[in-house]
């Protein structure tokens, strides 16, 4: 299914609003004092959960595109990824402000001493270059291959995000385990496809002059028309 530019623009607007919904919900809840007896915890947790949800969503884009054949899906990925970063940033600022109240000493100690904070922080730091290079200019400067290699960092980021969650729950790891399954499945799918392509290549399916099909997986996040 291919769609017109106008349709894509409409989908992007809808997705933009959808991604803002969790934040709007929190804002409304805070305004109405409806976030429960421990509103700061609710805010911190919701922001963390939505960071993770959006990370998982970015990982869904490629498989969905491949299976559906809808190339335009790939052009939604940048927005989802940037929103993941946006929620991670709010989650981190929430921690710095509401949780630690700018006690940099305690924050530094936490980052080095508490494994769950260490991996969360690693995930967040790794997201920064991805967010910073999520534009046409950066793709041009880096070149598609290098840009893509860099953006594969989203794989460890998602894994770190899940570990962060796993390590912070007191006893019941049922929810983090669900996220772990989702991430493992999405990454496993990629490994599987990669292996299949490697085999096909080895079997001489591609003529030497032909670019290997692997390259076709470099889908710029913005098309030349944008």
């Amino acid at each position: 299914m291919s769609i017109s530019n106008g349709q894509l623009a409409a989908i992007k607007v809808a997705l933009f609003l959808l991604c803002l919904l969790p934040l709007a919900w929190l804002g409304w809840g805070a305004w109405q004092d409806a976030l429960g007896p421990n509103p700061i915890e609710t805010i911190q947790r919701d922001l963390g959960i939505w960071t993770l949800n959006l990370l998982v969503a970015t990982l869904c884009v490629t498989p969905l595109r491949r299976m559906s054949g809808w190339a335009w899906l790939g052009r939604l990925r940048r927005m989802i990824g940037l929103f993941a970063f946006f929620y991670a940033l709010l989650h981190f600022l929430g921690y710095v402000w509401l949780d630690q109240f700018f006690d940099w000493n305690a924050i530094a100690k936490d980052i080095f001493k508490r494994p769950f904070i260490t991996v969360g922080f690693a995930a967040f730091v790794l997201l920064i270059p991805l967010a910073a290079t999520s534009n046409r200019f950066a793709i041009k400067r880096l070149g598609g291959r290098r840009w893509q290699t860099l953006h594969r960092a989203v794989y460890p980021i998602a894994i770190f995000g899940v570990i962060h969650y796993w390590w912070l729950v007191k006893r019941d790891v049922a929810t983090p385990a669900l996220y772990a399954l989702a991430v493992l499945f999405l990454l496993g799918l990629r490994a599987l496809w990669r292996e299949q392509e490697r085999r096909e290549q080895l079997a001489g399916k591609y003529a030497p002059q032909q670019p290997p099909r692997l390259r076709s997986r470099i889908i710029p996040i913005v098309s030349r028309r944008d």
């Binding site: 007896p37 915890e41 305690a106 936490d110 769950f116 390590w167 912070l168 007191k170 006893r171």
Partner: protein, 302 residues
């Protein structure tokens, strides 16, 4: 060993006072239709000098936020689910290394002289509240059964009912919930059996009909909905020590200087406050209880 419970026979007074009894029965029947707060039975309690002078956390927050792990893993799922728990009739056995083991009916315990004790409550997760409990010192109960000389520890066992407790069905912990105290901790005047909150019978989410409250220890020590109290010679292997021995120790004294392996215990978020406050050693009860642990390495005995 067990004798007939007062609640199992009809006391003469009730028999002769049928009018009142019928009225009470009517009220009970009606109570099923009313929201919990309206149905709650109020308790007469005298104010205790052991109360802290801090402002109690609002009742709604105390009832709707907390851990009752049998029912839910989050901080609020237990509120709805615990409504299915029947808290009458209810009995508690007090047995083990005692001269006079006994089974108490909750009605009898409610007749003991009750006190209102406003205590700080600090959860191992880093949040805290100020709770106006109603109850009696645990020692008042233990003295009735006459502990033997070799009774060194007290074990508390909570109610289990897989039918209404999802995390019991899932075996999230090695149920029943089991906690323990050293004998001197158990007999300490601050150690309370709570049967009420805010002047009324204990709400189910808070561990109705009776629970332990040890205000200088992390909340998980204070077992809810207790059905059995046993005096034993050896340290009980508590439910949390069985599950995660390196994170949850037997003592669990509130200690800002000893972190949980995964997070800091230096600060706490008092429910209702915006910024965190510093956690006090023994949750602010050091003057009263620190001597119990004189000479002990509190890092080792966490």
């Amino acid at each position: 060993m067990m004798h007939i419970l007062p609640s199992e026979i009809t006391p003469a007074q009730t028999y002769f006072d049928r009018r009142k009894f019928i009225g009470a029965a009517g009220a009970l029947a009606l109570s099923g239709l009313l929201p919990a707060s309206a149905a709650a039975q109020s308790l007469i309690a005298r104010k205790s000098p052991l109360s802290v002078l801090e402002t109690p956390t609002p009742r709604d927050d105390i009832v709707n936020y907390g851990n009752f792990l049998e029912f839910a893993s989050d901080k609020h799922g237990h509120v709805e689910r615990s409504k299915l728990m029947a808290v009458r009739p209810w009995t508690v056995t007090v047995e083990g290394l005692v001269a006079k083991p006994r089974r108490f009916a909750i009605e009898d315990l409610l007749k003991l002289p009750l006190e209102e004790r406003i205590y700080r409550h600090r959860c191992v997760e880093g949040w805290s509240m100020v709770v106006p409990w109603v109850g009696f010192p645990l020692s008042a109960l233990l003295n009735q059964v006459e502990p033997l000389g070799n009774a060194k520890y007290v074990e508390f066992i909570s109610h289990v009912d897989p039918a209404i407790m999802p995390n019991v069905r899932r075996q999230l912990l090695d149920w029943p919930y089991l906690e323990g105290l050293r004998m001197d901790e158990a007999l300490h005047p601050l150690t309370l059996i709570a049967v009420g909150l805010y002047g009324e019978v204990l709400p189910k989410p808070n561990g109705a009909p009776l629970r332990l409250v040890v205000p200088w220890k992390y909340g998980y020590k204070s077992a809810k909905s207790i059905v059995s109290i046993r005096l034993v010679e050896h340290p009980p292997n508590t439910v949390w020590m069985k599950a995660v021995p390196d994170e949850y120790g037997f003592y669990a004294n509130v200690n800002p200087g000893v972190d949980h392996p995964r997070w800091s215990q230096a600060k706490e978020r008092r429910i209702g406050e915006f910024f965190k406050r510093t956690t006090l050693p023994f949750n602010g009860y050091a003057d009263q209880v620190a001597s119990l642990y004189a000479g002990m390495d509190l890092r080792k005995f966490f």
